[in-house]
Symmetry: C2
Subunit: 353 residues, 2 copies
């Protein structure tokens, strides 16, 4: 491996041609194929020499002696970083997407579903959308709906229109008007607070002068504490599972199965996304190729993922998962664009408070 040596122009062009070809055909590409496709004429023999260099550098490899070459993960890496053409989403496509965002969103969940479905349809890969980090939501409204026998449905509406709910058991018998009073109290105190601040505030009433406040805060905390807790796991929307069946590399059941396992386990997906977009990410699109990603079960595939932002603050991730032989250029431009749209709508939702 002599990866430190910079590529010559010729090597670049040929590596690019190999990867472009492989991406569309899914078959190991030989020197003859490249020779025919290239702009400046070179014989297959000359191409072979270059290919041999590229192999030594670790960018391509042969499945077996008498086969053509296929890109390695590091090969894709230089392709993604230096060689691929950056494309923009077609204007017409842009308008089409924007139109959908305008018309199709009736509730928060629609937004995530639309985003993931859209991305899976446009890219033909499997799309994932992670719901926003809890810290970026603030409390908009608290509602207590009395149910039977001392139980209450506790509803929490957040600034973006998200809902948390749970059935809680009242710690003491309460009349309807007392419950109303509690709800009013909670709404007044918690309005526009983050979950963490709300928790802290409620706790602070413990040594309050006003015994009424103290009592209400204690009641409120017992009803809300679980909803306000960091429960870690965020929901992940996943669309376009079926697309992997169209990828020849996943015709094989043994390769397919681990990937489907990842799709089924939200926990793994979350881990994967968290790894790509760790905290407040400054970058736009993150690409993890094959072995670069942390899940053993996803070593055969790549993920292209972007943070989306609410009011400038990265709060969640959206992206696509496909074979390492992915149309990185198209995928990343689409992911970036849809992430932008999603963030835009979410910001609008949360903004006009």
């Amino acid at each position: 491996m002599k990866q430190d040596i910079p590529l010559t122009e010729r090597q670049k062009v040929i590596l690019q041609a190999i990867i472009n070809t492989y991406i569309t055909t899914a078959e190991a590409v030989g020197s003859r194929t490249i020779a025919k496709k290239m702009a400046f004429r070179l014989s297959p023999a000359s191409i072979r020499n270059v290919m041999s260099d590229l192999e030594e550098m670790g960018y391509i490899c042969q499945p077996h002696t008498s086969a053509g070459r296929i890109p390695t993960d590091t090969g894709y890496r230089v392709y993604v970083d230096n060689l691929m053409e950056i494309r923009r989403v077609e204007l017409e496509e842009q308008h089409h997407i924007e139109e959908l965002y305008r018309s199709r969103v009736k509730q928060l969940e629609d937004l995530f579903e639309l985003s993931s479905r859209l991305l899976s349809i446009l890219t033909h890969y499997t799309a994932v959308v992670q719901t926003p980090r809890m810290e970026t939501e603030t409390i908009k409204h608290v509602e207590l709906v009395p149910l039977s026998s001392g139980k209450t449905l506790v509803l929490l509406v957040t600034n973006i229109g998200g809902i948390r709910k749970q059935v809680a058991i009242l710690p003491e018998a309460m009349t309807t008007s007392e419950i109303d009073q509690l709800a009013t109290f909670l709404n007044k105190k918690l309005q526009a607070l983050s979950f963490a601040s709300a928790r802290a505030l409620m706790g602070s009433f413990d040594d309050s002068a006003d015994p009424q406040d103290k009592r209400l805060a204690a009641l409120g905390l017992s009803l809300l504490s679980e909803l306000l807790a960091e429960n870690g796991e965020r929901y992940v929307y996943l669309e376009g599972r079926e697309n992997i069946f169209d990828q020849p590399e996943f015709r094989n059941l043994d390769r397919l199965r681990p990937l489907l396992r990842v799709f089924d386990e939200k926990r793994l997906l979350n881990e994967l996304l968290e790894y790509c977009i760790p905290e407040d990410m400054p970058i736009n699109v993150c690409i993890r190729i094959g072995s670069e990603n942390p899940l053993d079960d996803a070593r055969e595939c790549s993920i292209v993922v972007s943070p989306y932002r609410i009011g400038g603050r990265a709060t969640g991730a959206i992206g696509v998962i496909g074979p390492t032989r992915m149309q990185y250029s198209r995928a990343s431009s689409l992911v970036a664009f849809v992430a932008g749209q999603l963030g835009h709508v979410l910001t609008e939702l949360s903004g006009g408070d």
Copy 2:
């Protein structure tokens, strides 16, 4: 085919043995195997004669000349209807399940998720749960949460703790207190009504004497109409997808794919469940075997499904999907039991109004 002729005792015993064996081994079973397993001694040759009869009747068939026999869909049918031993769920298992239902349910969604996960774990098949028919829910509470710029989040809580919501645009500018007034009006009028009655009632205000009522009703209708509409599609919970990978008949990608397609398309699942449990079903457990079910993509598998009841009224379906070579006995007893539990908890939730 001479399916009308009743089976002799010997034919029954042998058919039962064949199916029981095939269910556990997944391999075509030959006369020798049966001869060894049977209680009363018969030579393979005699068994072959009976098998020949059973084949002529259409209950078993040979994959090829020199193979043993496997049950046909009609074979499974007589097995399910007449031959299989009806088993009860072990008492210990029952207690375990009941315990889970007591402890794990914080909100309505948990209930469906628990039921489907439980069933998939217990049976090792894929489990589905359809949410209740809209007609069985009544309105418990309406909440209007003002969002930015003339938008409102409309929340509808039902008697079982279900939630419908949408972001609606106010048809006219309203102050916060006007919105509160509207919410109070809606809660007073719609309390405990079904969706259909609510729709009808709101419409009836059109020729009301009181102009204030008329105005509020019109506003309310514009905000609620979409939520109250029959939107047809019910949500379907699905758990244990990965279990089909353990079934040898689905090792083959061509058999696997259509089934996964069904799993991914809630519409198809709904159709399947609707077909098995049409309307207010008197029966307990419905079993559809292979070609008996209406979906082409599910011709290779069986479904065991039961309605669950809220207050005695069947309102949704719960069941498992697996290969036609299914452990029908165990599956149906478990489905029935879990359906009972689910209905029980739902009834409790809705009951104490």
